[in-house]
Symmetry: C2
Subunit: 236 residues, 2 copies
DNA sequence: AATTTTATTAAGTCATACATAATACAAATT
DNA sequence: AATTTGTATTATGTATGACTTAATAAAATT
């Protein structure tokens, strides 16, 4: 056996810490037992005994699971299974000041991708009431809304409403997460400054498409509406 | 003051635990000091002393930060700042067997949104080499690939390559996360069964669009390609 | 100079004790 | 009898000190 191979073997042996093992054991256990939301899990001391480790380790493993949203622990009551909130977890580290530039740019792009791609969901789920609300939103916008910076509130109101219409909760939460990062990137020096400030397809036009148009038209319209952002992304 | 108001006031007092405070203190500290990736943070005992809490609390706070990907701790060296991997965190709880049905469906939809919305990124970043690779991938596909189930590998190869072409790392990671869930939902009873198995726009056609077409054409094509999935979503 | 051994350091693990908060149940008040 | 109040219990939260382990640095050996 070659030396490198031996080294590889050793490396793959077990680099994981005790807590790692306990954690995956516990997760596995919950899944095996098909525990449902609300079900209680054994107490810390019981787990410590049955797994033969200290309560410290158990607590650390449980803490991780708590962070992942798998469990929720209350004094006296112990811990109960919960349904993890995927994006709630993410929100903890979704901090523009902490993320690196590449990720920040990626997230900027991600928003554009989502808003163009959500067309079909919008058309399938939009109601007359939604359209009415959208019209109210755009009617409150100042005319000639050329400068993004001065209209953040309107941007948020309009685009946020779109996410709401999709009826996709994960998407909504994702947006709320991405929003601050998007704004941060927009206002930071990470992207080239906008050259022109022409407006393209307006919010009003998008509403019109939603009312009378097709998903394809909406995608094209939204792509156009976001042109300034795309220009900044693709500027070299 | 009404009784209910008093109660509300009391509730908002401070339900956060000691670890919560220490955690936010630490995160704030890192941001204030503008620490960069690779910089070391004080040792556990030092932190415990300077904040006037036990090492237990410090460890728990640090553990959380480690889970969020903010720091990485090594024996002897202490902990160093790292750039958080947004989706790495999520992956822990991205388990189809644990997530609730609504979230699962939402994620199913999310994939469709992404793949339609990513058109512009694709067109801007695709290279001749990429197109060549895509052609290889589709040439390996069996003709008349009508049944999704028998062609998962090809689906993954093709669509995975698309994500790669976007050059958006966050998007790529997100996809890798969503993929198992998507498959799970597809094969589960969560959605109505497909009625027809007609194929619409094929992989081959999509490649052609990527080579000679426009983003708009690609979006329309991809929407059509995913028609079977959409049909299942919208089936009542 | 290069390698091996040793010492040191900081995180990982353990055990124990006490604090705190939520619950259940008994007791007291009306 | 019904509701409130007090009390005991219980499980998590916090604190402390000791020990283990692994990575690094320093010293010793070749």
């Amino acid at each position: 056996m070659a030396v490198t191979a031996i080294i590889e073997d050793l490396k793959s042996l077990d680099t994981s810490t005790l807590v790692d093992k306990v954690e995956s054991n516990l997760v596995q256990l919950l899944m095996d037992r098909k525990l449902k939301v609300g079900d209680a899990i054994p107490k810390e001391v019981e787990l410590a005994e049955s797994l033969g480790v200290s309560r410290t380790v158990i607590r650390e493993a449980l803490l991780r699971m708590r962070m992942m949203g798998l469990i929720e622990s209350k004094k006296k009551k112990g811990a109960v299974i919960t349904s993890p909130d995927l994006f709630g977890i993410m929100s903890k580290s979704m901090n523009p000041h902490i993320l690196d530039q590449e990720t920040l740019k990626d997230i900027f792009e991600l928003r554009l991708v989502l808003e163009i791609g959500m067309a079909d969901l919008l058309f399938h789920r939009i109601t007359a009431k939604d359209i009415k609300e959208l019209k109210v939103i755009v009617s409150n916008e100042p005319p000639m809304a050329k400068n993004y910076l001065f209209n953040i509130e309107h941007e948020i109101a309009f685009h946020g409403k779109l996410y709401e219409i999709t009826g996709n909760d994960a998407l909504k939460k994702f947006q709320r997460l991405l929003l601050p990062v998007f704004d941060y990137v927009h206002n930071s020096g990470l992207l080239k400054k906008q050259t022109g400030t022409q407006t393209f397809v307006s919010h009003k036009a998008l509403v019109k498409i939603l009312e009378n148009g097709t998903p394809d038209e909406f995608r094209t319209g939204m792509r156009n509406h976001l042109q300034n952002h795309f220009a900044r992304i693709f500027a070299k």
